[in-house]
Symmetry: C2
Subunit: 594 residues, 2 copies
C-alpha cells in the first residue's frame, strides 16, 4: 500500500507567505500585529500533527462502523471520534479564529482554513461535526439577542457545544420556501416584550415539526447541540418571507431532554461517521434568532460559511488523492512507456504519458484550488479586519462572488479528481484498503449539500454577477489581470499568461452578452449558469498557476521556480481549453433547451 496522507506544510506555507503574502497583511492590522510567518507556520504544523496522528487513524474505522442510534435514542459515533473531539477542544482549536470577546484566539481565518484542510483530508466525516461552529457563531453574533450570545457563544467558540443546521424537510430541499416546521410563542407577553426591546432578549419559542438530512443533529461528542432551525411563526405568510430562524438546544438548561428526537439515520454512500438524521421536534423549547420573517437572511450567514467549508472538502480530498496517485505511480512498474527509458524493463506508471496526464491534472487542480481557496480566506480576514471600510466592503463582495464558484468547482473537480486518482491505481483504486474508494463515497455528497452545485451556478449568475451588473466580476478580473500582466513579462510564463489572458478577455466579453441574452429571454442566464461557473473556475485556476509561478520565480528556489512554471504551462496547454469552451457556451445565445 502507498504511504498515506502527509500534510503539505511546505506548499501551504509557500501559498500563504509567498503567493498571497499574508504576513504583510497581518503587520498592517492591529489584531494580528503580533503574528508572523513563523508563528503562523507553527500553528498550522501543530494542527496538522493532530490531523495526521490523532484523526487519520479514525477515518477508515469510522467508515466501517458508522453511526447508530442506541437504546436510549441517542446517536453513537464510531470508535475514537469522541476522544479525538475532546482532544481537539482541549487543544483550543475550535477557538483559533474566533472573536476574543467570546474566548476566541482571534487568529486569521486563513490559518483556520489551512488547519481545516488537513483535518478534512485526514477524516472528512469527523470534521463535519465541528464544521458548523463558525457559521453558528457568525449567525448568533450577527442576529442573536444579547442574552443568547452571552449564554451560548462561549461554549460554541470553545467547541464545548456543537451546532447543527436544520433546514431541509422532506418536501423542502433546494426550495426552502416550502418549509412547514412551526414555532409558537412560549409566552406571548415575553415575546412581545423581547420583540419590542433593543435586541437584549430573544423571544422564547416552542418548536414542532420534522427535518430531514440533518448532519450531526445528535452525537456523543458533546452533551449539548444547538440546532438552528428554519420554521414558520404563527400567522407567517407562505413562501420564503414567512420563514424565521430559531435556536433549539438538544438539552434544556437542567440537562434534561428538550423534545429533539432523532428518528432515523440515513443509509448513505459515504460519510458513515457523520450521522445524517431525520429529526422530530416535539414542543422543543428555543429562541428566535433575528426578526420574524427574516430567517433566510440569518440562515445565509451560516450557509455561506458552510459553503466555503464544503469547498475546502473538495480541496482536501484532491490533496489526499493526489498524494495517493503520485505515490502509487512512482512505485508501481507496468509496461514500457515508449520513451527514452524503454529498454530498461517495466517503467514506473508515472512515466507513461496516459498516467502523467492524470498526475499533472491532479496537481494542477489541487495546487490551483489551494491558492484560490486560501485567497478567499485571506479576503474573509480582510472583510473582517481591514482598516479601510471600502476595502472591507470590497473584500466581502469578492468573497460573496467566489463562494458559489469555489463550492461548486472544488467539489465537482474534487470528485472528478478522486476518480482520476482511482484510475491511476487501477484495480487497487477500487478496493477498500487503498482508501480512494472511501474518498469517492465521502466526497460525492459535497456536490449536493449546502446548496447543490446547480444552485451555486444560479446564485453566481443571478445574485453575484447580474445583480450588480458585473461590477464585482470586473473588480475580480482586475486582480487576475494584474497577475497576468506580471507573468506576461516573464519569458518562461508568457505562453501560460497568454492563455489566462484569453480567458479574462472571454470573461469581459461574457458580461454584455449575458445582459443581452437576459433581455431577450429571462431564462437565458439559467441556461448559461453551469458553463459560466465552470468557465470562471478554470479562469481562477489559470490565475492561481501564474501567481504560484511568479512567486516561485521571485523566491530563492530555482527548482521550485521551474516546477511551478511547468505546472502553469501544463495547465494552460491541457486544461484551459476547457475554460474557453465553457466561456463560449455561456454566451451561446443560439442554444435551445428542449
Amino acid at each position: 500500500m502507498s504511504p498515506d496522507y502527509t500534510a503539505p506544510l511546505q506548499e501551504m506555507r509557500f501559498v500563504i507567505d509567498e503567493v498571497l503574502r499574508a504576513p504583510e497583511d497581518w503587520t498592517r492590522r492591529p489584531a494580528h500585529a503580533d503574528l508572523d510567518a513563523a508563528t503562523a507556520a507553527a500553528v498550522i504544523e501543530e494542527g496538522a500533527r493532530f490531523a495526521v496522528e490523532v484523526l487519520a487513524p479514525t477515518d477508515a474505522v469510522g467508515d466501517r462502523q458508522g453511526c447508530r442510534i442506541d437504546a436510549e435514542g441517542r446517536v453513537r459515533t464510531p470508535e475514537g471520534y469522541a476522544a479525538a473531539y475532546a482532544a481537539w477542544v482541549e487543544g483550543g482549536w475550535p477557538a483559533l479564529a474566533a472573536d476574543p470577546r467570546w474566548g476566541g484566539q482571534g487568529l486569521p481565518q486563513l490559518l483556520d482554513f489551512a488547519v481545516l484542510e488537513t483535518l478534512l483530508a485526514a477524516n472528512h466525516a469527523w470534521t463535519m461535526f465541528g464544521g458548523l461552529l463558525h457559521g453558528a457563531v457568525a449567525t448568533l453574533s450577527a442576529h442573536g439577542a444579547a442574552d443568547l450570545q452571552r449564554r451560548f457563544l462561549p461554549d460554541l467558540v470553545s467547541g464545548r457545544t456543537l451546532a447543527a443546521m436544520a433546514l431541509t424537510e422532506p418536501q423542502a430541499g433546494s426550495d426552502l420556501s416550502q418549509v412547514r416546521c412551526k414555532g409558537e410563542w412560549l409566552d406571548a407577553a415575553q415575546a412581545a416584550d423581547a420583540l419590542a426591546g433593543a435586541g437584549e432578549h430573544a423571544p422564547r419559542l416552542r418548536v414542532s415539526g420534522s427535518k430531514l438530512f440533518i448532519s450531526g443533529a445528535d452525537h456523543d461528542l458533546t452533551p449539548q447541540t444547538l440546532h438552528l432551525v428554519l420554521l414558520r411563526l404563527p400567522g407567517a405568510p407562505a413562501g420564503s418571507a414567512g420563514l424565521s430562524l430559531a435556536l433549539v438546544p438538544t438539552r434544556r438548561e437542567d440537562g434534561g431532554p428538550n423534545g429533539v428526537h432523532v428518528d432515523a439515520l440515513e443509509h448513505k454512500l459515504g460519510l458513515h461517521g457523520s450521522p445524517t438524521c431525520a429529526v422530530r421536534y416535539e414542543a422543543a423549547e428555543g429562541w428566535l434568532i433575528g426578526a420574524p420573517g427574516r430567517g433566510l437572511a440569518a440562515m445565509f450567514v451560516m450557509m455561506n460559511a458552510a459553503r466555503l467549508q464544503v469547498a475546502m472538502q473538495g480541496l482536501a480530498h484532491l490533496e489526499h488523492a493526489t498524494q495517493r496517485a503520485w505515490a502509487y505511480a512512482a512505485e508501481r512498474r507496468q509496461g514500457r512507456a515508449g520513451g527514452p527509458s524503454a529498454a530498461a524493463g517495466p517503467a514506473a506508471l508515472a512515466e507513461h504519458p496516459a498516467v502523467r496526464r492524470m498526475l499533472w491534472t491532479l496537481r494542477a487542480l489541487t495546487e490551483g484550488l489551494r491558492v484560490v481557496c486560501y485567497r478567499c480566506a485571506q479576503l474573509l480576514d480582510e472583510a473582517d479586519g481591514a482598516e479601510d471600510a471600502a476595502q472591507r466592503t470590497q473584500a466581502a463582495t469578492r468573497v460573496a462572488l467566489l463562494t458559489p464558484v469555489l463550492k461548486a468547482f472544488a467539489t465537482h473537480h474534487g470528485f472528478q479528481g478522486v476518480s482520476l486518482a482511482m484510475q491511476v491505481l487501477g484495480g487497487y483504486g477500487y478496493v477498500a484498503e487503498y482508501g480512494l474508494e472511501q474518498q469517492l463515497r465521502d466526497l460525492r455528497i459535497a456536490l449536493v449539500y449546502e446548496g447543490t452545485n446547480e444552485i451555486q451556478a444560479i446564485d453566481l449568475v443571478q445574485r453575484k454577477i447580474l445583480a450588480d451588473d458585473g461590477a464585482g466580476l470586473r473588480a475580480l478580473l482586475v486582480e487576475l489581470e494584474t497577475t497576468v500582466a506580471q507573468a506576461a513579462a516573464r519569458p518562461a510564463l508568457a505562453e501560460a499568461a497568454a492563455a489566462v489572458a484569453a480567458c479574462c478577455a472571454d470573461a469581459r466579453a461574457a458580461l454584455p452578452a449575458l445582459r443581452a441574452a437576459r433581455e431577450a429571454d429571462p431564462q437565458a442566464p439559467l441556461r448559461a449558469a453551469d458553463d459560466l461557473l465552470q468557465a470562471l473556475g478554470w479562469t481562477l485556476l489559470g490565475w492561481a498557476w501564474l501567481a504560484m509561478a511568479l512567486a516561485a520565480a521571485d523566491g530563492g528556489d530555482a527548482a521550485r521556480a521551474q516546477d511551478k512554471a511547468t505546472l502553469a504551462r501544463y495547465g494552460a496547454q491541457w486544461l484551459l481549453p476547457q475554460a474557453r469552451l465553457h466561456w463560449a457556451a455561456a454566451v451561446d445565445g443560439g442554444r435551445v433547451l428542449p
Copy 2:
C-alpha cells in the same frame, strides 16, 4: 421512491428494426432466415421479463449481503443468485446466440446484446457470472483442441458450466508480460504427441501460481468453473512471447477438487454480489489452449468479447439512471423555474433549466450509446454470418476499431451519467434506498477492468488507427458521412448534421496530423490517445442521434420524429462542442507533457 427499472422495449425495437434495419440482414442470411422482427421482439421481451421480475429483486440484497467464503473454502453468493441462475439456464438463455453445433440456438448476437442490456440494468453483479461464457466459447472454438471442445463446449454453451478469466497477478496488471504463473507438462510424452497432432488432443498441464482480481473464480451457481489461465510453460522466454493459455477446471472429472483455491475476496467499492477472488493454483490439472507462447492471442478472443460486455454495462447503467432521474424530476416539485409557468407554485424539477440540461444529456448519452453498441453487435453478426467474405472481414475490422472506443467511452460517460442522475435526485441520490448510489459503486470498476480506459485509448490509436494507416477509421467515416449527408437534406436535421459533419471532417484531418506527430516523436500518439478516443466517441454519438432522427422521420410516428430531431439538435448544440475540443486537442502537436 421513484418507480424502478423498466426495460425500454419500444426504444430497443426502434433501434433494431428501424435505425439499424437488422431484420433486413436476417432475411439475407441462411442462419437467420426464419427470424423476423416480431419473433426477435418476443425473445427480447421474454429476456427482459426475467431481468425485471426475477433478477432486479436480487440487486439491492446482493449488494448488502455480498459474497463470502464458507468453512469449506467455497464462495457463497447472495440470497437468490443461485436460484435466478438456475432459472436462467433452464430457460436456455445462455445458448441464445451460440453455435448450434454445440447446442446453441444460433440467434443473432444483436438479440443477445439487447437481452444483456436488461440483465445488466437489473443486476450488474449477477450478470458478471455469465459474462465470460461467450468469450470462453469463442476462445475454445477458435483455439481449443477438438477433445477439449467436445468435453467442455456443450456445458459452456448451455451455461451449466461457468467460466473465469485468470490473467492478473499482483505484479502483472495492465502489463501481462510480467505474469509468473507456471504450467508444467503433466505427461511429457502425451504433451509431445498432442503438440505434434492436428489439434485433436490438448497437452495436459499441471498449473501452479497465484492470480488476483479474478471475478467469479468460485461460486455456488454451478458445480464447475473453467478458468482460462495465462501462464508460462517450462523454458518459456520472458515477456509476452512466453505466455500461454491454459484451461483449468475447478473440479476434476470425478467431481473432486482440482487444487484451485480462493484465498480471499476483495473488499471493494461495489459489485458486492460478484466475488473478486485471490486465487491460488496448487498443482491444478488443466490443458493447454492453442500453441505454446500464443497465449495472448488466444486470450484476446475472450478479452475482446469481454470488452464489449463492459461497454454494455455502461449503457445499461445509463439507461437505468436516466429512468430514475426522469421519473424523479417529473414528480419532485421545488422552486420556480423562471419560465412561463412561474406563477403556478413550485415547478417540477424537470422544468428547471439546470435540471433539463442534465436530463437531456442523460437521454442523449443513453440513446446514442444504444445505437452505437447495437450497431457493433450487428457488425459481430455480419462478421460471423455475412455471405460475402470481404464483408465479413470489413465487419470484423470495424468491430475491432469500435471495441476500445465503446469500452472506454460507454463506461466513462456511464459513470458520469450515473453521477449526473444522482445530482438530479439531490440528497436522495446519496441514500441507499434510491439505488443510484449502488449504481455509482457498481459501475466504477468498469473504467478499469478488462483493460483500463487508458489502455483502450492506446489500443485505439496504435493498433486500430495507426497500424492500418487509418484505413479502418476512414471506412467507418464513410458510413457515418452517408448518414450525415442524408440528414443534411432534411431541414429539421440540417443544423445537427452540420455539427456532426464538422466532427467527421476533424476526424479526417486528424489522421495525417497524427502520422506527422508520430514521425516527429513516437510518444506523440500516446499523448493524444485519450482525446482521440473521446473525440471519436462523441462523433459516433452524433451519428447515432442523426440515424435515430432519420429513422424516426421515415417512420409513422410524428411525435417520435419530432422528439428525435429535438434530441439530435440538443446533442449537437450542447454536447458536440466537446467533440471538437477533443479533436483539436488530439492533433495539438504543441502540447508538452512534463
